[in-house]
Protein backbone atom coordinates (compact mmCIF):
# COMPACT_ATOMS: atom_id res chain seq x y z
CA UNK A 1 0.00 0.00 0.00
CA UNK A 2 1.55 3.29 -1.06
CA UNK A 3 1.55 5.99 1.58
CA UNK A 4 0.51 9.14 -0.21
CA UNK A 5 2.01 12.44 0.67
CA UNK A 6 -0.69 14.86 -0.40
CA UNK A 7 1.76 17.45 -1.58
CA UNK A 8 3.01 15.00 -4.20
CA UNK A 9 -0.36 14.45 -5.85
CA UNK A 10 -0.04 15.69 -9.43
CA UNK A 11 -2.27 18.58 -10.50
CA UNK A 12 -5.33 17.80 -12.61
CA UNK A 13 -4.79 18.28 -16.35
CA UNK A 14 -8.42 19.23 -16.97
CA UNK A 15 -10.70 21.38 -14.84
CA UNK A 16 -13.34 19.15 -13.24
CA UNK A 17 -17.03 19.62 -13.93
CA UNK A 18 -18.83 21.12 -10.91
CA UNK A 19 -21.31 19.06 -8.90
CA UNK A 20 -24.87 20.22 -8.16
CA UNK A 21 -27.51 19.19 -5.66
CA UNK A 22 -29.44 15.97 -6.30
CA UNK A 23 -32.59 18.10 -5.79
CA UNK A 24 -35.93 16.84 -4.46
CA UNK A 25 -37.17 14.78 -7.41
CA UNK A 26 -34.80 11.80 -7.70
CA UNK A 27 -37.23 9.39 -6.03
CA UNK A 28 -38.64 7.95 -9.29
CA UNK A 29 -35.21 7.76 -10.92
CA UNK A 30 -32.39 6.70 -8.63
CA UNK A 31 -33.82 4.01 -6.33
CA UNK A 32 -34.09 0.50 -7.77
CA UNK A 33 -35.34 -2.85 -6.52
CA UNK A 34 -33.20 -4.20 -3.63
CA UNK A 35 -30.83 -1.24 -4.01
CA UNK A 36 -29.92 -1.41 -0.30
CA UNK A 37 -29.44 -5.20 -0.17
CA UNK A 38 -25.77 -5.89 -0.88
CA UNK A 39 -26.51 -9.37 0.40
CA UNK A 40 -29.72 -11.23 1.04
CA UNK A 41 -31.06 -10.98 4.61
CA UNK A 42 -31.05 -14.79 4.69
CA UNK A 43 -27.26 -14.81 4.32
CA UNK A 44 -25.96 -15.97 7.74
CA UNK A 45 -23.21 -13.33 7.58
CA UNK A 46 -25.56 -10.48 6.71
CA UNK A 47 -25.48 -7.43 8.95
CA UNK A 48 -27.83 -4.49 9.18
CA UNK A 49 -26.20 -1.08 8.83
CA UNK A 50 -28.61 1.69 9.78
CA UNK A 51 -28.99 5.16 11.23
CA UNK A 52 -30.56 8.56 10.73
CA UNK A 53 -29.46 11.69 8.91
CA UNK A 54 -30.14 15.03 10.59
CA UNK A 55 -29.67 18.73 9.82
CA UNK A 56 -28.25 21.65 11.82
CA UNK A 57 -31.35 21.79 14.03
CA UNK A 58 -31.16 18.07 14.73
CA UNK A 59 -34.21 17.46 12.56
CA UNK A 60 -34.44 14.43 10.31
CA UNK A 61 -33.65 14.95 6.62
CA UNK A 62 -36.29 12.98 4.71
CA UNK A 63 -34.90 13.59 1.22
CA UNK A 64 -31.35 12.27 1.22
CA UNK A 65 -29.86 9.50 -0.91
CA UNK A 66 -26.96 7.46 0.46
CA UNK A 67 -24.49 5.11 -1.20
CA UNK A 68 -21.98 2.74 0.37
CA UNK A 69 -18.94 1.08 -1.20
CA UNK A 70 -16.95 -1.56 0.66
CA UNK A 71 -14.76 -4.66 0.59
CA UNK A 72 -16.19 -8.09 1.36
CA UNK A 73 -15.76 -9.89 4.71
CA UNK A 74 -12.25 -11.02 3.68
CA UNK A 75 -11.14 -7.49 2.82
CA UNK A 76 -11.31 -8.16 -0.93
CA UNK A 77 -12.48 -5.33 -3.21
CA UNK A 78 -14.69 -7.32 -5.55
CA UNK A 79 -15.72 -4.80 -8.26
CA UNK A 80 -18.25 -7.19 -9.83
CA UNK A 81 -21.06 -5.89 -12.03
CA UNK A 82 -24.69 -6.74 -11.38
CA UNK A 83 -25.52 -4.22 -8.64
CA UNK A 84 -28.58 -2.96 -10.52
CA UNK A 85 -30.05 -6.44 -11.01
CA UNK A 86 -29.35 -7.87 -7.52
CA UNK A 87 -29.51 -11.60 -8.22
CA UNK A 88 -29.24 -12.35 -4.49
CA UNK A 89 -25.93 -14.21 -4.88
CA UNK A 90 -23.41 -11.69 -6.24
CA UNK A 91 -21.79 -9.40 -3.69
CA UNK A 92 -20.81 -6.28 -5.65
CA UNK A 93 -19.71 -4.11 -2.70
CA UNK A 94 -21.96 -1.21 -3.65
CA UNK A 95 -25.42 -0.16 -2.47
CA UNK A 96 -27.79 2.78 -2.61
CA UNK A 97 -30.80 3.82 -0.55
CA UNK A 98 -33.18 6.73 -0.27
CA UNK A 99 -33.80 7.53 3.41
CA UNK A 100 -37.38 7.23 4.70
CA UNK A 101 -39.78 9.95 5.90
CA UNK A 102 -37.97 10.22 9.23
CA UNK A 103 -34.47 10.30 7.77
CA UNK A 104 -33.75 6.67 8.60
CA UNK A 105 -31.78 4.36 6.32
CA UNK A 106 -30.94 0.65 6.28
CA UNK A 107 -28.45 -1.38 4.28
CA UNK A 108 -28.17 -5.17 4.44
CA UNK A 109 -24.51 -5.93 3.92
CA UNK A 110 -21.42 -7.76 5.22
CA UNK A 111 -18.94 -6.62 7.84
CA UNK A 112 -16.00 -5.59 5.66
CA UNK A 113 -12.68 -7.22 6.44
CA UNK A 114 -9.41 -5.31 6.70
CA UNK A 115 -8.04 -4.69 3.19
CA UNK A 116 -4.53 -5.10 4.61
CA UNK A 117 -3.33 -6.76 7.80
CA UNK A 118 -3.60 -4.42 10.77
CA UNK A 119 -5.76 -1.84 8.96
CA UNK A 120 -9.04 -0.72 10.49
CA UNK A 121 -11.95 -1.90 8.30
CA UNK A 122 -14.35 0.78 7.12
CA UNK A 123 -17.20 1.35 4.66
CA UNK A 124 -17.17 4.37 2.34
CA UNK A 125 -20.32 6.48 2.52
CA UNK A 126 -21.50 9.15 0.08
CA UNK A 127 -24.30 11.57 0.98
CA UNK A 128 -26.57 13.36 -1.50
CA UNK A 129 -29.55 15.51 -0.44
CA UNK A 130 -31.83 18.31 -1.47
CA UNK A 131 -30.20 21.42 -0.02
CA UNK A 132 -26.75 19.86 -0.22
CA UNK A 133 -25.00 21.48 -3.18
CA UNK A 134 -22.35 18.79 -3.63
CA UNK A 135 -21.91 15.23 -2.42
CA UNK A 136 -20.10 14.47 0.83
CA UNK A 137 -17.79 11.55 1.55
CA UNK A 138 -17.07 9.91 4.89
CA UNK A 139 -16.00 6.59 6.42
CA UNK A 140 -17.97 4.22 8.64
CA UNK A 141 -15.44 2.38 10.81
CA UNK A 142 -16.26 -0.93 12.48
CA UNK A 143 -15.88 -0.64 16.27
CA UNK A 144 -14.22 -3.96 17.13
CA UNK A 145 -10.53 -3.81 16.24
CA UNK A 146 -9.50 -1.20 18.80
CA UNK A 147 -5.77 -1.64 18.11
CA UNK A 148 -6.29 -0.98 14.41
CA UNK A 149 -8.56 1.99 15.19
CA UNK A 150 -5.91 3.42 17.51
CA UNK A 151 -3.27 3.29 14.77
CA UNK A 152 -5.51 4.54 11.94
CA UNK A 153 -3.95 7.66 10.38
CA UNK A 154 -7.27 9.47 9.85
CA UNK A 155 -8.66 8.75 13.33
CA UNK A 156 -5.34 9.65 14.93
CA UNK A 157 -5.59 13.12 13.39
CA UNK A 158 -9.00 13.80 14.98
CA UNK A 159 -10.05 14.78 18.49
CA UNK A 160 -12.18 12.37 20.55
CA UNK A 161 -15.49 13.94 19.63
CA UNK A 162 -14.72 13.96 15.91
CA UNK A 163 -13.40 10.40 16.06
CA UNK A 164 -16.66 9.18 17.60
CA UNK A 165 -18.62 10.51 14.61
CA UNK A 166 -16.85 8.02 12.32
CA UNK A 167 -17.04 4.82 14.36
CA UNK A 168 -20.25 2.80 14.14
CA UNK A 169 -21.88 1.32 17.25
CA UNK A 170 -22.47 -2.44 17.40
CA UNK A 171 -25.98 -3.10 18.68
CA UNK A 172 -27.05 -6.14 20.67
CA UNK A 173 -28.49 -7.93 17.65
CA UNK A 174 -25.24 -7.41 15.72
CA UNK A 175 -26.47 -4.42 13.71
CA UNK A 176 -24.20 -1.50 13.00
CA UNK A 177 -25.60 1.91 13.93
CA UNK A 178 -24.18 4.99 12.20
CA UNK A 179 -25.91 8.38 12.37
CA UNK A 180 -25.04 11.22 10.00
CA UNK A 181 -25.14 14.81 11.23
CA UNK A 182 -24.66 17.32 8.42
CA UNK A 183 -24.26 20.26 10.78
CA UNK A 184 -24.10 21.22 14.46
CA UNK A 185 -23.31 19.23 17.59
CA UNK A 186 -21.31 16.09 16.82
CA UNK A 187 -21.19 17.11 13.15
CA UNK A 188 -19.94 14.14 11.14
CA UNK A 189 -16.38 14.51 9.86
CA UNK A 190 -16.55 14.66 6.06
CA UNK A 191 -13.55 14.00 3.88
CA UNK A 192 -11.65 15.42 0.93
CA UNK A 193 -9.03 13.55 -1.06
CA UNK A 194 -5.93 14.45 -3.06
CA UNK A 195 -6.83 15.48 -6.61
CA UNK A 196 -10.37 16.32 -5.49
CA UNK A 197 -10.63 19.56 -7.42
Amino acid sequence: MPQAANTQAPALKLAPTPGQTIGPFYGYAMPFDKDNELVNQANPNSVRLHGVITDGKGEAIPDALLEIWQADEHGIVVSKDGSLVRDGYTFTGWGRTAVDNVGHYTFTTLNPGATEAGKAPFIMLTVFARGLLNRLFTRIYLPEDTAALASDPLLAALDDEQRRTLIATREEDGSLRFDIRLQGDLETVFLSYPRGS
Binding site: P2, A4, L12, K13, L14, A15, P16, T17, P18, G19, Q20, I22, G23, P24, F25, Y26, G27, Y28, A29, P31, D55, G56, K57, P62, E67, W69, A71, S79, D81, S83, L84, V85, V99, D100, N101, P112, F122, M124, R130, G131, L132, L133, N134, R135, L136, F137, P153, L154, L158, L182, Q183, E187, T188, L191, S192, Y193, P194, R195, G196, S197
Partner: protein, 277 residues
Protein backbone atom coordinates in the same frame (compact mmCIF):
# COMPACT_ATOMS: atom_id res chain seq x y z
CA UNK B 1 -36.83 2.72 -13.78
CA UNK B 2 -40.50 2.51 -12.85
CA UNK B 3 -43.02 5.21 -12.12
CA UNK B 4 -44.32 3.41 -9.07
CA UNK B 5 -44.39 5.26 -5.82
CA UNK B 6 -41.35 4.77 -3.63
CA UNK B 7 -41.35 5.33 0.08
CA UNK B 8 -39.82 8.78 -0.01
CA UNK B 9 -42.41 10.15 -2.41
CA UNK B 10 -45.38 9.82 -0.16
CA UNK B 11 -44.61 12.12 2.75
CA UNK B 12 -46.13 15.51 3.26
CA UNK B 13 -44.25 18.17 1.37
CA UNK B 14 -44.66 20.94 3.93
CA UNK B 15 -40.93 20.88 4.65
CA UNK B 16 -40.20 21.54 1.00
CA UNK B 17 -42.56 24.45 0.66
CA UNK B 18 -41.35 26.98 3.18
CA UNK B 19 -44.04 29.70 3.23
CA UNK B 20 -41.64 32.23 4.76
CA UNK B 21 -39.12 31.76 1.98
CA UNK B 22 -41.64 32.57 -0.72
CA UNK B 23 -41.98 36.13 0.56
CA UNK B 24 -38.39 36.89 -0.42
CA UNK B 25 -38.05 38.73 -3.71
CA UNK B 26 -35.88 37.70 -6.63
CA UNK B 27 -34.21 41.08 -6.28
CA UNK B 28 -33.00 40.37 -2.74
CA UNK B 29 -31.80 36.85 -3.66
CA UNK B 30 -30.02 38.26 -6.72
CA UNK B 31 -28.34 40.91 -4.56
CA UNK B 32 -27.04 38.23 -2.18
CA UNK B 33 -25.64 36.31 -5.16
CA UNK B 34 -24.02 39.46 -6.59
CA UNK B 35 -22.34 40.25 -3.28
CA UNK B 36 -20.93 36.74 -2.83
CA UNK B 37 -19.64 36.69 -6.42
CA UNK B 38 -18.00 40.11 -6.08
CA UNK B 39 -16.19 38.98 -2.92
CA UNK B 40 -15.07 35.82 -4.72
CA UNK B 41 -13.70 37.72 -7.75
CA UNK B 42 -11.83 40.06 -5.41
CA UNK B 43 -10.27 37.07 -3.63
CA UNK B 44 -9.06 35.70 -6.98
CA UNK B 45 -7.53 39.10 -7.83
CA UNK B 46 -5.72 38.87 -4.50
CA UNK B 47 -4.24 35.52 -5.49
CA UNK B 48 -6.74 32.95 -4.24
CA UNK B 49 -7.14 29.83 -6.37
CA UNK B 50 -10.11 29.74 -8.75
CA UNK B 51 -13.00 27.63 -7.43
CA UNK B 52 -14.20 24.69 -9.54
CA UNK B 53 -17.05 23.39 -7.38
CA UNK B 54 -20.21 24.95 -5.88
CA UNK B 55 -20.04 26.41 -2.40
CA UNK B 56 -21.88 24.05 -0.08
CA UNK B 57 -22.56 27.01 2.24
CA UNK B 58 -24.53 29.26 -0.12
CA UNK B 59 -27.29 31.18 1.67
CA UNK B 60 -29.22 32.34 -1.43
CA UNK B 61 -30.16 28.65 -1.81
CA UNK B 62 -32.18 28.62 1.40
CA UNK B 63 -32.38 24.83 1.74
CA UNK B 64 -28.59 24.73 2.12
CA UNK B 65 -28.60 26.74 5.37
CA UNK B 66 -29.01 23.78 7.74
CA UNK B 67 -27.63 21.13 5.40
CA UNK B 68 -23.98 22.03 4.94
CA UNK B 69 -21.14 21.02 7.26
CA UNK B 70 -19.71 24.00 9.11
CA UNK B 71 -16.27 22.46 9.58
CA UNK B 72 -13.75 22.15 6.77
CA UNK B 73 -13.61 18.86 4.97
CA UNK B 74 -10.88 16.74 6.53
CA UNK B 75 -8.15 15.97 4.03
CA UNK B 76 -7.24 12.29 4.00
CA UNK B 77 -4.98 9.96 2.04
CA UNK B 78 -7.18 7.42 0.26
CA UNK B 79 -6.94 3.77 1.26
CA UNK B 80 -7.63 0.64 -0.75
CA UNK B 81 -11.42 0.77 -1.03
CA UNK B 82 -11.28 4.48 -1.85
CA UNK B 83 -8.96 3.77 -4.79
CA UNK B 84 -11.53 1.56 -6.55
CA UNK B 85 -15.05 1.97 -7.83
CA UNK B 86 -18.10 -0.24 -8.24
CA UNK B 87 -18.41 -1.91 -11.63
CA UNK B 88 -21.43 -1.88 -13.94
CA UNK B 89 -21.98 -3.51 -17.30
CA UNK B 90 -24.42 -4.87 -19.85
CA UNK B 91 -25.89 -7.02 -17.12
CA UNK B 92 -27.02 -3.86 -15.34
CA UNK B 93 -28.20 -1.65 -18.18
CA UNK B 94 -30.00 -2.50 -21.43
CA UNK B 95 -28.90 -0.49 -24.49
CA UNK B 96 -32.46 0.81 -25.00
CA UNK B 97 -32.45 2.52 -21.60
CA UNK B 98 -30.56 5.45 -23.15
CA UNK B 99 -33.59 6.35 -25.28
CA UNK B 100 -36.14 8.15 -23.09
CA UNK B 101 -38.58 8.56 -25.96
CA UNK B 102 -39.46 4.86 -26.39
CA UNK B 103 -40.44 3.87 -22.85
CA UNK B 104 -44.21 4.02 -23.44
CA UNK B 105 -46.70 3.18 -26.16
CA UNK B 106 -46.79 6.64 -27.71
CA UNK B 107 -44.38 9.41 -28.62
CA UNK B 108 -43.69 11.97 -25.89
CA UNK B 109 -44.61 15.59 -26.59
CA UNK B 110 -41.81 18.09 -27.06
CA UNK B 111 -38.57 18.86 -28.82
CA UNK B 112 -36.68 15.60 -29.45
CA UNK B 113 -32.97 16.01 -28.68
CA UNK B 114 -29.83 13.90 -28.49
CA UNK B 115 -27.35 14.70 -25.70
CA UNK B 116 -23.98 13.08 -26.33
CA UNK B 117 -20.47 13.45 -25.01
CA UNK B 118 -17.67 11.75 -23.12
CA UNK B 119 -16.86 11.07 -19.48
CA UNK B 120 -13.19 11.81 -18.73
CA UNK B 121 -11.13 11.84 -15.58
CA UNK B 122 -9.11 14.83 -14.42
CA UNK B 123 -6.14 13.61 -16.44
CA UNK B 124 -8.17 13.48 -19.65
CA UNK B 125 -8.40 9.69 -19.70
CA UNK B 126 -11.73 8.28 -20.88
CA UNK B 127 -13.84 6.59 -18.22
CA UNK B 128 -14.93 3.47 -20.09
CA UNK B 129 -17.65 0.97 -19.17
CA UNK B 130 -19.07 3.07 -16.36
CA UNK B 131 -22.66 3.88 -15.38
CA UNK B 132 -24.32 7.19 -16.34
CA UNK B 133 -27.82 7.88 -15.02
CA UNK B 134 -30.05 10.82 -15.96
CA UNK B 135 -33.44 12.15 -14.89
CA UNK B 136 -35.38 15.22 -15.89
CA UNK B 137 -38.68 17.11 -16.15
CA UNK B 138 -40.82 16.80 -19.29
CA UNK B 139 -41.41 19.39 -22.03
CA UNK B 140 -43.84 21.23 -19.73
CA UNK B 141 -41.44 21.38 -16.76
CA UNK B 142 -43.16 18.62 -14.78
CA UNK B 143 -41.49 15.66 -13.08
CA UNK B 144 -43.24 12.32 -12.68
CA UNK B 145 -42.29 12.54 -8.99
CA UNK B 146 -45.38 12.58 -6.74
CA UNK B 147 -44.12 15.57 -4.79
CA UNK B 148 -43.90 17.74 -7.90
CA UNK B 149 -47.27 19.52 -7.78
CA UNK B 150 -46.42 22.20 -10.35
CA UNK B 151 -49.68 22.60 -12.32
CA UNK B 152 -48.23 21.61 -15.67
CA UNK B 153 -49.26 18.49 -17.55
CA UNK B 154 -47.74 15.07 -16.99
CA UNK B 155 -46.92 13.37 -20.28
CA UNK B 156 -48.16 9.76 -20.16
CA UNK B 157 -45.49 8.89 -22.74
CA UNK B 158 -42.54 10.35 -20.86
CA UNK B 159 -41.02 9.20 -17.56
CA UNK B 160 -37.76 11.13 -17.84
CA UNK B 161 -35.29 8.51 -16.58
CA UNK B 162 -32.40 7.00 -18.55
CA UNK B 163 -29.24 4.97 -18.07
CA UNK B 164 -26.21 4.16 -20.18
CA UNK B 165 -22.84 2.45 -19.89
CA UNK B 166 -19.98 4.51 -21.38
CA UNK B 167 -18.16 3.15 -24.42
CA UNK B 168 -14.42 2.45 -24.76
CA UNK B 169 -13.67 6.17 -25.27
CA UNK B 170 -15.92 7.24 -22.39
CA UNK B 171 -18.71 8.15 -24.80
CA UNK B 172 -22.41 8.24 -23.97
CA UNK B 173 -25.53 9.31 -25.87
CA UNK B 174 -29.11 9.87 -24.69
CA UNK B 175 -32.16 10.49 -26.86
CA UNK B 176 -34.75 12.48 -24.93
CA UNK B 177 -37.09 15.48 -24.92
CA UNK B 178 -35.85 18.96 -24.07
CA UNK B 179 -37.00 19.71 -20.51
CA UNK B 180 -38.66 23.02 -19.64
CA UNK B 181 -37.94 25.38 -16.73
CA UNK B 182 -40.14 24.98 -13.67
CA UNK B 183 -41.07 27.05 -10.60
CA UNK B 184 -39.87 26.23 -7.09
CA UNK B 185 -40.26 27.66 -3.60
CA UNK B 186 -36.87 29.15 -2.75
CA UNK B 187 -38.27 32.67 -3.06
CA UNK B 188 -41.15 34.48 -4.75
CA UNK B 189 -41.33 33.76 -8.50
CA UNK B 190 -38.30 31.43 -8.43
CA UNK B 191 -37.74 29.39 -11.60
CA UNK B 192 -35.07 26.78 -12.28
CA UNK B 193 -33.30 26.95 -15.65
CA UNK B 194 -34.06 23.86 -17.77
CA UNK B 195 -31.70 21.05 -16.81
CA UNK B 196 -31.01 17.32 -16.93
CA UNK B 197 -29.68 15.63 -13.76
CA UNK B 198 -26.59 13.48 -14.36
CA UNK B 199 -25.17 10.84 -11.99
CA UNK B 200 -21.60 9.66 -12.69
CA UNK B 201 -19.03 7.15 -11.49
CA UNK B 202 -15.29 7.13 -12.15
CA UNK B 203 -12.50 4.62 -11.62
CA UNK B 204 -12.15 5.64 -7.94
CA UNK B 205 -15.27 6.04 -5.77
CA UNK B 206 -13.85 9.42 -4.67
CA UNK B 207 -14.79 10.62 -8.20
CA UNK B 208 -18.49 9.90 -7.65
CA UNK B 209 -20.62 12.89 -8.58
CA UNK B 210 -24.15 14.08 -9.27
CA UNK B 211 -24.69 17.28 -11.21
CA UNK B 212 -27.03 19.09 -13.60
CA UNK B 213 -26.54 19.84 -17.30
CA UNK B 214 -27.99 23.09 -18.62
CA UNK B 215 -28.83 24.41 -22.11
CA UNK B 216 -27.01 27.29 -23.80
CA UNK B 217 -28.39 30.82 -23.46
CA UNK B 218 -30.94 30.11 -20.73
CA UNK B 219 -32.28 33.51 -19.53
CA UNK B 220 -32.76 32.11 -16.00
CA UNK B 221 -29.07 31.44 -15.31
CA UNK B 222 -28.33 34.70 -13.51
CA UNK B 223 -31.41 34.34 -11.29
CA UNK B 224 -30.86 30.77 -10.08
CA UNK B 225 -29.20 30.30 -6.68
CA UNK B 226 -28.38 26.63 -7.35
CA UNK B 227 -26.47 27.35 -10.56
CA UNK B 228 -24.94 30.52 -9.08
CA UNK B 229 -23.67 28.60 -6.03
CA UNK B 230 -20.75 27.98 -8.38
CA UNK B 231 -19.03 31.32 -7.90
CA UNK B 232 -16.62 31.07 -10.84
CA UNK B 233 -17.93 31.90 -14.33
CA UNK B 234 -15.61 29.44 -16.11
CA UNK B 235 -16.76 26.67 -13.74
CA UNK B 236 -20.42 27.57 -14.32
CA UNK B 237 -19.87 27.40 -18.08
CA UNK B 238 -18.73 23.78 -17.69
CA UNK B 239 -22.30 22.76 -16.85
CA UNK B 240 -23.71 24.19 -20.09
CA UNK B 241 -23.98 21.87 -23.11
CA UNK B 242 -23.13 23.17 -26.60
CA UNK B 243 -25.50 22.98 -29.52
CA UNK B 244 -23.73 20.62 -31.96
CA UNK B 245 -25.03 20.34 -35.51
CA UNK B 246 -22.94 17.22 -36.10
CA UNK B 247 -25.07 15.48 -33.46
CA UNK B 248 -28.30 16.88 -34.95
CA UNK B 249 -29.86 14.35 -37.32
CA UNK B 250 -31.83 15.02 -40.51
CA UNK B 251 -35.58 15.36 -39.87
CA UNK B 252 -35.26 13.67 -36.46
CA UNK B 253 -33.59 15.43 -33.50
CA UNK B 254 -31.41 18.38 -32.59
CA UNK B 255 -28.10 17.61 -30.88
CA UNK B 256 -26.16 18.83 -27.88
CA UNK B 257 -22.64 17.97 -26.79
CA UNK B 258 -21.58 17.85 -23.15
CA UNK B 259 -18.33 16.35 -21.91
CA UNK B 260 -17.96 15.63 -18.20
CA UNK B 261 -14.63 15.77 -16.38
CA UNK B 262 -14.45 13.95 -13.06
CA UNK B 263 -11.85 14.69 -10.41
CA UNK B 264 -8.49 12.93 -10.55
CA UNK B 265 -7.87 9.25 -10.00
CA UNK B 266 -5.58 8.64 -7.04
CA UNK B 267 -4.98 4.98 -7.82
CA UNK B 268 -2.92 5.64 -10.95
CA UNK B 269 -0.38 8.03 -9.51
CA UNK B 270 -0.13 6.25 -6.15
CA UNK B 271 0.59 2.95 -7.90
CA UNK B 272 3.12 4.65 -10.19
CA UNK B 273 4.83 6.08 -7.15
CA UNK B 274 4.94 2.71 -5.44
CA UNK B 275 6.54 1.24 -8.57
CA UNK B 276 9.30 3.82 -8.43
CA UNK B 277 10.15 3.13 -4.80
Amino acid sequence: MSTETTANETFNDSHVLDPAATTLSQESISQEITDIHAAYRQSVVEGKKAETQPRIDFAPYRSSLLRHPTKNLHHVDPETIELHSPAFGERDVHALESDLTIQHNGEPIGERIVVAGRVLDGDGRPVAGQLVEIWQANAAGRYIHKRDQHPAPIDPNFTGVGRAITGPNGEYSFTTIKPAPYPWKNHHNAWRPAHIHFSLFGTDFTQRMITQMYFPGDPLFSLDPIYQAITDQDARDRLVASYDHSITSHEWATGYNWDIVLTGSNRTWMEDEEGEN
